[in-house]
Homo-oligomer: 247 residues x 2
Amino acid sequence: MTDIRPRLRLFVPHALAEGAAVALDRDQTHYLASVMRAAAGEAVLLFNGRDGEWLARIAGLAKAGAALVPERQTRPQAPVPDLWLLAAPLKKERTDLVAEKAAELGVSRLWPVFTRRTNAGRVNLERMRAHLVEASEQCERLCVPELADPAPLDKVLGQWPEGRVLLYLDESGGGVPLAQAIPPGPAALLVGPEGGFDDEERRLLASKPFARPVGLGPRILRAETAAIAALAVWQSVAGDWASSPRG
Amino acid sequence: MTDIRPRLRLFVPHALAEGAAVALDRDQTHYLASVMRAAAGEAVLLFNGRDGEWLARIAGLAKAGAALVPERQTRPQAPVPDLWLLAAPLKKERTDLVAEKAAELGVSRLWPVFTRRTNAGRVNLERMRAHLVEASEQCERLCVPELADPAPLDKVLGQWPEGRVLLYLDESGGGVPLAQAIPPGPAALLVGPEGGFDDEERRLLASKPFARPVGLGPRILRAETAAIAALAVWQSVAGDWASSPRG
């Protein structure tokens, strides 16, 4: 496309097809009308994770709701790399950051995992999901990462799916450099909390044939830095950053 | 070292040598006494960017100042990889984040660069430096990244040092995947503002033999995400993340 892309891009749950009007909920209507000051007739890109990306027009804009009419598909649906991020919840702002960057950096699934040294007692899934959606809208993804139900580490490891390698960031420094440890195929990156994994968790991880300790150099990285850096390295080695740039 | 590392680690300007007392300024004294509730006799790690890392003891702690006495060197001085990050200033919190992550991810120099679409009119260098110092203390660096004087892009390009490649993040999608574009030797990564480079800047960059456009995959990354991700990829390919893990 050489024409100017619309400044508005929204994730919607509706099916997308030519001429089939989409009714926005109150929050998205507020965003369009009051935050972005959009007007009837303005173009909006829509995606739902299934039907690709569509150019739609605002047909009506009232306080209670807006109606958008898809006109044509701008991109067909395409998969993201099969990469999960398992992350122990951190303080609120750092968890927000991990969610935002996980979406930008192309994960297919974000999975909050509780470890023994995790300080956060619970996770605000709604808040996390809002960050995933907003980042997905901005970075031009065609889907929002799946947000898996938070679970304790031992339970996650106990029901691990066959065929997926688990690369865990070993802050004790014992791991293989991440870039050298990435096999082809489905993968998951696991980043512990600020305090790291405890001895029992370390033993449990070492006992699992699908799990490999990896490292990111000689400096001590904060948990969210390790998560973001690991995603970037994985995308460069095995993900969609290795292929040719976008057209 | 198998013993427990001190919880306190400080960057100081003083020379470090056995028995030569170091007088902390008011801010660091406040941090030790009031924030960390340290007491006389407690161990503190010190580094100054020149003399390696030293184990010191708090000899005295008063409101006006604290005295620390270095006892033994724990690590000799060692260089960080020769990597610069040139970054257009962003909104305050995003600029804070870039400074913090640049230190953690091992840059030798951070250089704020003004481009035509840079929204921030000025840079708070003191604030940026505070983030660099704090992150350097926490991530166990032996030096704080140099903070270069902010300058306009054309001036920076006009006096570029020989022998250093400039890899600029080309958000238009025309760049070679970063991991495939990294040569050995001194390097700099350049990340533009949220609005990207304008046409004239793009032509100027393309005219420089030391500059190469690079890309980070098909999604549109926010400026600070691109900076962090690019640093991680560079460290994995040409920096100190490729060598064996720390002992």
